[in-house]
């Protein structure tokens, strides 16, 4: 292995393109003859369309087509697994607010937008159910990510009943929307039965397959291109309705069509983090040693499809306890189908579990880090396997030291800065290490330059740079000689950029291809030469694979106005080999900042009478702005993992957010003595 344990902090190779505006995102392409499509979405949350009057729309200058359920072609929108059911104008049924009901195509964006506004739709409304509390349609999903939804070890109820210290509480997290700054965008173009799509997608390979299925054409007839992606965070993982609608529109007008979602439509049909209500019960002895953990999760899904927010998966393995029960229940509501959002499950679940651990720490009067160390899991008890590596103790130690945890007086309301109440909180961070099959080709040209090709994507994670580093280091050449080609289904297939698995998957493929190339060069072969690797994870895992970290937060709370401002954050993370210290740190910091939004700002509010979202813009759905950012430090805890995958990397894209909301809630409790168990921590929850 030529790769260093912590890779050089190389500047992003795509940096100059991004700072000069030359990086081309999906909506930046303009094939000849391009016309503009605008999606029209439903105005009610439950019911049916009685009539769509498009006369006025069709009369407008420049209008080329109006697609509705009355004239749309029959498609194959059915969902299966994580290919969620699409709304492709196939019937008159309205299942959720802002469901696509029509597409208007015109010569210009302005014409299409205005003509779309003139569509008059008559509905027959039915009362919607918006809140999971109100939904009687509940069930246990068959599985979550190939694991059973409900897991029990030992006898948790009996253990709880017999525990000297019993703690029970209910935590809840709201609906949140991803809101990457780049809205989802698709440019679709047909040549006969061949479809080319520029799409803002976290997975070109996956998008290609789905589009082929939806249109009933061979996979080889579809090409998906996505060289740059303006953030995704999960909402650009699955293929959503607008992508297929753009292609349907392009087919209808026989010209390339661009369809960009409006910001309000980013709250429509592209998934979201579902609301959760989570009950936690902890049984412990007076020294804080856990005998039992129970974590019951209720989350929402749509009336027509399934997504489980797997909040309790983390609870199965994070702490040592003989008796554990985790359950997941779904409640159907009149809302779109939820989806993955940065650390799905871990972000919401760690809020509940790590808040509860803080509450237990107060109950038994033990330092929160000490409590966690007393319950340190030396092996994964849920899978009964050793961890491939685990450096959580180091994370606690380094994080605490850098943060100055020892200065904390644990008594609530004991620390002040002028009139502001100061609070310090911590929590554990963790995220599983995933991997999927990925292919890559590494080619050396006659001039010694190297091209790495893989149909993966760069969401801002650093793909263009880190795989160049892997190739350069493996081949022992300067990185300046390496160029990446990615984001195109003409390249070797690669998985979805999701689940923090791209580095493990694509990185392993690039490493194996580059190693093979090096071997052949060593044996005397000459450039031009190329090697391909089709890398796959092992079928039977001997190890439990997770990254771990520790989050530390200092907040200041205005006791009279209830305003919470995070002043400092320190995260320490151990995630195996780090390919690039600079981009890795950025990923950690980005995740941590997301935790601030989750803890303090983000909530999608619905009008319960209509199921309509009333915060469908960035003035009402608040995400952190620069002034919300505290001083932030992310530390890389060195970790060598010989088992996890060929290059020893764990994922780093999502772990940064995990634990943060709990750490902030814990800090707010420390500052104020008020425990907020329902996110976000808005000022009204702190006014007494």
């Amino acid at each position: 292995m030529n790769l260093p344990l912590v890779g050089a902090p190389h500047d992003r190779l795509d940096g100059p393109a991004k700072v000069t505006g030359r990086a081309t995102y999906a909506a930046d392409f303009s094939p000849a003859g391009l016309v503009h499509a605008v999606m029209v979405t439903s105005e009610i949350g439950n019911g049916r369309i009685v009539r769509i009057d498009d006369a006025e729309t069709r009369r407008q200058d420049g209008v080329l087509a109006v697609l509705t359920h009355e004239n749309a072609r029959r498609m194959h929108p059915e969902g299966h697994g994580f290919a969620f059911a699409l709304m492709l104008l196939q019937d008159d049924r309205i299942r959720y607010d802002r469901q696509p009901i029509a597409v208007v195509v015109a010569e210009s964006f302005e014409q299409a937008t205005y003509a779309a506004s003139l569509l008059r739709t008559t509905y027959e409304s039915e009362p919607p159910i918006t809140r999971i509390e109100d939904s009687a349609d509940r069930y246990t999903p068959e599985e979550i990510f190939d694991e059973p939804a409900d897991v029990t070890r030992g006898n948790p109820d009996r253990a709880f009943a017999g525990a000297p210290v019993q703690f029970k509480a209910t935590y809840s997290t709201p609906v949140e929307h991803h809101n990457p700054i780049e809205p989802s965008a698709t440019i679709a173009e047909w040549e006969g039965e061949r479809l080319t799509v520029h799409d803002s997608t976290q997975g070109v390979t996956n998008a290609r397959k789905r589009l082929a299925t939806v249109f009933g054409i061979p996979v080889s007839n579809v090409r998906v291109i996505s060289p740059f992606l303006g953030g995704g965070f999960g909402c650009k993982g699955a293929v959503w309705s607008h992508v297929a609608l753009a292609a349907m529109a392009a087919r209808a007008v026989g010209r390339p069509v661009k369809l960009v979602l409006t910001r309000p439509q980013m709250f429509g049909s592209i998934g979201y983090r579902p609301r959760t209500i989570q009950s936690i019960a902890l049984g412990a002895d007076r020294d804080g040693r856990l005998s039992c953990i129970m974590h019951d999760v209720l989350s929402q899904t749509s009336t027509f499809d399934e997504f489980v927010e797997p909040s309790a998966l983390v609870t199965k393995m994070l702490y040592a306890a003989k008796n554990v029960r985790t359950t997941h229940t779904l409640a159907r509501v009149n809302a779109a189908t939820p989806t993955f959002m940065r650390a799905p499950g871990e972000a919401t679940g760690s809020f509940a579990l790590e808040s509860a651990m803080d509450e237990l720490a107060y109950a038994v009067d033990i330092d929160p880090i000490e409590l966690r160390l007393r319950n340190y899991a030396e092996r994964d008890q849920s899978e009964n396997k050793p961890f491939s590596s685990k450096s959580l103790r180091e994370c606690y130690r380094i994080g605490a030291e850098k943060f100055g945890w020892s200065e904390r007086d644990p008594k609530p309301r004991s620390m002040r800065n002028g009139r502001m109440l100061v609070g310090m909180g911590m929590a554990t961070a963790t995220y599983p290490t995933n991997r999927a099959a990925a292919s890559a080709v590494v080619r050396m040209n006659e001039d010694g330059s190297v091209v790495v090709r893989s149909g993966t994507q760069d969401l801002g994670t650093g793909s263009y740079t880190v795989y160049a580093q892997v190739a350069a280091e493996t081949l022992d050449i300067p990185i300046e000689r390496v160029r990446l080609e990615l984001g195109d289904t003409d390249l070797p297939p690669a998985p979805l950029s999701a689940g923090s698995m791209t580095a493990a998957s694509v990185g392993s493929a690039v490493y194996e291809a580059a190693s093979a190339l090096r071997e052949r060069l060593r044996k005397g072969e000459k450039a031009p030469i190329e090697a391909r690797a089709d890398a796959k994870p092992q079928e039977h895992e001997r190890y439990s694979k997770h990254a771990f970290g520790a989050q530390f937060v200092r907040v200041e709370v205005d006791p009279d106005l209830g305003e919470v401002r995070v002043r400092r954050m320190v995260g320490a993370f151990a995630a195996g080999r780090i390919l690039n210290a600079k981009t890795a740190r950025s990923q950690y910091l980005g995740g941590m900042l997301w935790g601030i939004g989750m803890a303090l700002h983000e909530v999608t509010r619905f009008d319960e009478r209509t199921a309509r979202i009333v915060t469908a813009n960035l003035a009402d759905y608040l995400v952190p702005v620069h002034a919300d950012a505290p001083d932030m430090e992310a530390y890389i805890v060195e970790e060598e993992d010989p088992h996890v995958n060929p290059i020893g990397v764990k994922g780093i894209g999502e772990i940064g957010i995990t634990g943060v909301a709990a750490a902030i809630a814990n800090a707010v409790y420390h500052a104020t003595g008020i425990r907020v168990r329902d996110l976000p921590i808005a000022c009204e929850k702190l006014l007494r």
Partner: protein, 182 residues
């Protein structure tokens, strides 16, 4: 009173010099000239076309990004007469005679502007989508002498949302970019 009201027109030309009489233009396309990055561009737009859409869809200057089209994210930031504005909430026809600078006009050839170089070096972005706006806001705040400390930078950069969460690195880039610009 209506004697001063000029004839309605459905199309026309908006000259850069003050007209003899205010003419009513549109709603059809209007010929205008915009000065972008030191170059004059003639284009034909309806009055309802925003500056952002004129730059992106007509002039193909796609470095300026559309994030919300509602003035709530700052991805569309450009400089007009050296001041940072959101180009989504202003009309192209309102900028005849103005000096417009987009991200494409900042570097000289292959030589990055010092602020651009600082953003690359400090990893002041991830996905890069908000970056053109961030860089232009940073340049404006330095030129306007608002670099009075980290808090001031954070305040002044709050009109550019970075959803990747690169603020810590953006702060470092702006500090360093300001030094390089001095």
């Amino acid at each position: 009173m209506d004697s001063a009201i000029p004839e309605l027109a459905t199309a026309g030309t908006l000259p850069s010099a003050a007209p003899a009489a205010a003419s009513i233009l549109g709603p059809g396309e209007v010929q205008i000239e915009l000065e972008v990055n030191g170059e004059r561009h003639e284009l034909s737009v309806e009055p309802r076309v925003t500056l952002l859409d004129a730059l992106r869809e007509r002039l193909k200057l796609t470095g300026t990004k559309k994030g919300c089209d509602q003035g709530t994210c700052g991805a569309c930031t450009v400089l007009v007469n050296d001041r940072a504005i959101d180009s989504c909430l202003t009309l192209a026809v309102m900028h005849v005679g103005d000096r417009i600078t987009t991200i494409e006009g900042l570097a000289s050839g292959e030589q990055l502007h010092p602020m651009q170089a600082a953003f690359v070096e400090h990893d002041g972005f991830q996905c890069g989508y908000c970056t053109p706006g961030q860089v232009l806001s940073a340049v404006a705040l330095v030129r306007e002498g608002r670099m009075t400390g980290d808090d001031a930078i954070r305040e002044q950069m709050s009109g550019n949302i970075c959803r990747c969460g690169a603020y810590e690195n953006i702060l470092a880039a702006v500090r360093d970019g300001a030094r390089r610009m001095a």
